[in-house]
């Protein structure tokens, strides 16, 4: 780590040190190239998607069946993507923060490590297995909830006026599966910042007679706020881009609808790509790549903002 500007060598040692200097320079070159590759690959993702997707932005109107232009083609997909991500966040965030608090402040010390591992296991389950479970079990399990939501909140555009899904394979169920899938990342980030709260702040709060909840509210949360925000945004990034769970759970239709418990909804951008990749005409392929470019730019910005917030708070705390 330390900069070892090797001391000026003079005299007889000079010749002996030369070959190793060359080795050093070569090695440093290789290492730099590797690090540079990462930058290049990120730029390459953007460039290749742009080159291949460009055609898809302004192709013949027949390419966009059943629509006529790129904007009208992607709008229903964007609406679904936002709805599914919103459901996922609304459900996952309270649970994720509660679970993080549970592991960092409530669970018995000895159990905490095991319980944290259990939550990490949730992140290890492949998305296709989540999709399989969501489509075959969770959908049927949540179907009565669809009926209930429709009966009691049907006046909202999200739960009516069309009848609820008979099998539960709705955007709502897909959003719940997404919530389960993004829970581990939000938990992991929040847990980390909760654990970093200065012990002295916590003990000072307790010494003033605060209950544990008051201590968390007045000592832990203010300290961890930006970390929690960044965790939630990383979760949002995951939810926007998650493909298989939606592709396997949702019954799809091309028609835009705000109703999340209806019989069918348009797929999300990512799921739409997975469901239509087989279409082999080059124009359709470019179109899918163009929607992928949109997804990439949006998730990149969300992740960028999330990491920036996290980094800013880390820098502030260093001071």
């Amino acid at each position: 780590m330390t900069a070892t500007a090797s001391p000026e060598r003079t005299g007889p040692h000079d010749t002996a040190s030369r070959p190793s200097r060359r080795g050093d320079r070569t090695f440093e070159g290789i290492v730099r190239v590797a690090a540079f590759t990462i930058l290049v690959s990120l730029v390459a993702v953007f460039i290749f998607l742009a080159i291949e997707g460009w055609v898809g932005l302004t192709a013949d109107p027949s390419t966009y069946e059943p629509f006529t232009s790129f904007i009208t083609y992607i709008t229903p997909l964007v609406v679904s993507t936002l709805l599914a991500s919103a459901i996922a966040l609304i459900v996952a965030v309270p649970f994720a923060i509660a679970v993080a608090l549970f592991i960092s402040h409530y669970a018995p010390r000895r159990l905490a490590a095991v319980l944290a591992y259990l939550v990490d296991l949730l992140a290890a389950v492949p998305s296709v297995v989540f999709g399989l479970w969501g489509g075959r079990y969770l959908a049927a399990y949540l179907q009565p909830l669809h009926v209930w939501l429709h009966a009691h909140f049907g006046f909202l555009p999200f739960f009516g006026p069309e009848p609820p899904s008979p099998n539960g394979r709705s955007l709502f169920t897909a959003g719940i599966v997404l919530a389960i899938m993004i829970l581990p990342i939000i938990t992991a980030i929040s847990r980390e910042v909760f654990a970093q709260t200065p012990r002295l702040h916590e003990e000072a709060a307790l010494a003033l007679g605060a209950t544990r909840w008051e201590m968390i509210r007045y000592a832990v949360f203010p300290y961890a706020r930006s970390g929690m925000v960044s965790g939630v945004m990383l979760g949002l990034g995951r939810a926007l881009g998650e493909t298989m769970a939606v592709a396997m759970v949702l019954a799809t239709t091309p028609n835009t609808t705000l109703n999340v418990i209806g019989v069918a909804s348009p797929p999300t951008i990512a799921a739409n790509i997975a469901l239509n990749y087989k279409e082999s005409t080059p124009e359709r392929q470019s179109l899918l790549i163009a929607t992928g470019l949109v997804l990439f730019v949006v998730t990149f910005l969300v992740n960028f903002a999330a990491r920036w917030i996290a980094g800013r708070s880390a820098r502030r705390m260093d001071r």
Partner: protein, 346 residues
């Protein structure tokens, strides 16, 4: 106000109060549950509700408002944890229950070539595909990942370039896997024409997802290597690059390998990018550079998409094999990490 000394301690509920209330809530909710023949979920949900009302109420009477709120939050957090873990347990149970009947020797050693209808099929071709594509992805991403980590720790130190790279690597961990797949697809299409599909495209997509994980974990491990070791090596006249290769790398090796295995277990279950770029086929294809190649996750998805009972059964069998694979990798990583953990200072 009454006279008398102000008490210095508040009355508290006994330590067994939550357990007692919990048992009573279960019993109380069990009565209507038994009578009306409710499902397990409804019973548990009602007991949670009873518990959430009863314990804070009791606490409010004995301990006061603030303690009651504290008890309510504690109960909510415990319940939230229980609810959050239940999908994992349910999912694992379902995969085992449905997967076990599907698995037999023929299932593991046959491909789906010429399998029609309800005949015995297998996932051998998908296993081969998954192993080859993941192996190639590992070969691409491990050198790049480790060398980048070396740059960040040993050469970049606090330079602007190193900070930018660290930041972008963090951002890269959030790239949706389907976008990685589309990138690989765009690359192949641009180089070899629109209809070209090959397993190596899947490897490229997976390595894009794998590199950030490898960089982050190796970087962390290199930072743990004490500077004393490096300085001792420099003092002996060993050049920097040999110090890195012979001192830093071996010291951190256990942790680095753990990180790599965890990264593999993360990408081995990726479906979307492989679906897009490697496609699917029924037969065995062991050539990474030509033709479609089925992987285990894609096998699960395409069997699921058939919507037939036998298709579902194969999908569950595949899911069980995949989960076992991921869990074995996960455990291996943890065992390697434990065994090669740097010795604690005495």
């Amino acid at each position: 106000m009454t006279t008398g000394p102000i008490p210095i301690s508040h009355p508290r509920l006994p330590a067994w109060a939550p357990a007692l209330v919990g048992a009573m809530a279960l019993a109380l909710a069990g009565l209507p549950a038994l009578l009306a023949g409710w499902s397990l979920t409804k019973w548990i949900a009602l007991s949670f509700l009873v518990f959430l009302v009863a314990l804070p109420l009791w606490s409010r009477v004995v301990e006061g408002r603030r303690a009651a709120l504290d008890r309510l939050v504690t109960a909510l957090i415990w319940i939230a944890f229980a609810i959050a873990v239940s999908p994992l347990i349910w999912l694992l149970w379902v995969v085992i229950k449905n997967g076990l009947p599907a698995i037999n020797i023929a299932f593991l050693t046959n491909s789906m070539l010429n399998v029609i209808g309800d005949e015995q099929g297998g996932l051998y071709h998908a296993l081969i595909g998954t192993l080859l594509i993941t192996l190639a992805a590992t070969i691409i991403s491990v050198p790049i990942g480790i060398l980048t980590a070396i740059y960040l720790v040993e050469y970049g130190a606090r330079s602007r370039a190193a900070r930018v790279i660290t930041f972008l690597v963090d951002v890269m961990t959030g790239i949706p896997s389907i976008v990685a797949g589309l990138f690989a697809l765009a690359l192949l299409v641009l180089l070899f024409g629109t209809a070209f599909r090959a397993g190596i495209g899947g490897s490229i997509a997976l390595s894009l997802l794998m590199i950030p994980t490898v960089v982050r974990s190796s970087e962390e491990m290199f930072r743990l290597v004490p500077d004393d070791l490096r300085e001792a090596s420099y003092a002996l006249g060993v050049p920097r690059w040999r110090t890195i290769l012979k001192v830093v790398l071996p010291t951190a090796l256990g942790g680095v390998v753990t990180g790599v295995v965890l990264a593999i277990s993360r990408v081995i279950g990726e479906t979307a990018p492989l679906l897009v770029v490697a496609g699917a086929t029924d037969g065995i294809n062991s050539n990474l550079f030509d033709g479609r190649m089925t992987t285990l996750p894609v096998f699960i998805f395409s069997q699921y998409a058939t919507s037939t009972p036998v298709g579902y059964e194969r999908a569950w069998g595949g899911a069980l094999v995949l989960i076992v694979l991921v869990m074995v990798l996960n455990l291996t990583a943890r065992i390697i990490g434990r065994v090669f953990a740097p010795a604690k200072e005495h």
